[in-house]
């Protein structure tokens, strides 16, 4: 996997983690509007980065494959073959 692709994948994983952290916090602090805004901005950036990734490198989840030119869901590398 090329460096650029790997960096984008790591960025997506980091944003996903941040979104999950806000998710857990907001479940117990639903009235915290500032946290909600930061959660929303995180998710918006996450969606953009995922869109960028799938357009350039292939599907992240199987549903993404519907917008790919062919069935590349089984293409290399498999998740456990990625060297971070």
């Amino acid at each position: 996997m090329h460096r650029e692709q790997l960096e984008l994948l790591k960025r997506i994983q980091a944003l996903e983690f941040t979104a999950t952290e806000f998710n857990l916090y907001l479940d117990t602090h639903p009235g915290d509007q500032r946290a909600f805004i930061d959660f929303s901005n995180t998710v918006r950036e996450l969606e953009q980065q995922k869109e960028l990734y799938t357009r350039n490198y292939g599907p992240l989840i199987v549903d993404d494959t519907a917008r790919q030119p062919c069935w590349n869901w089984i293409d290399d590398p498999w998740p456990w073959e990625i060297e971070y």
């Binding site: 790591k10 960025r11 994983q13 980091a14 944003l15 983690f17 941040t18 952290e21 806000f22 916090y25 117990t28 602090h29 915290d32 500032r34 946290a35 930061d38 995180t42």
Partner: protein
């Protein structure tokens, strides 16, 4: 007994201070630290921390 309970919390009840969102680490740093909240970062070091 009170030296073990200096602020007179009621016995046999669990207390969790309510977290307030102040700031957070950027996503990549947070992923490495295991939390986005700096105030929650407290790696286990195996020592008795009661006197900290």
């Amino acid at each position: 007994m009170n030296d073990m309970n200096p602020i007179m919390l009621r016995l046999a009840q669990a207390y969790v201070p309510f977290q307030t969102y102040v700031n957070r680490w950027d996503p990549m740093k947070a992923l490495m630290m295991g939390t986005i909240f700096p105030e929650l970062y407290r790696p286990y070091d195996g020592r008795d921390r009661r006197r900290d």
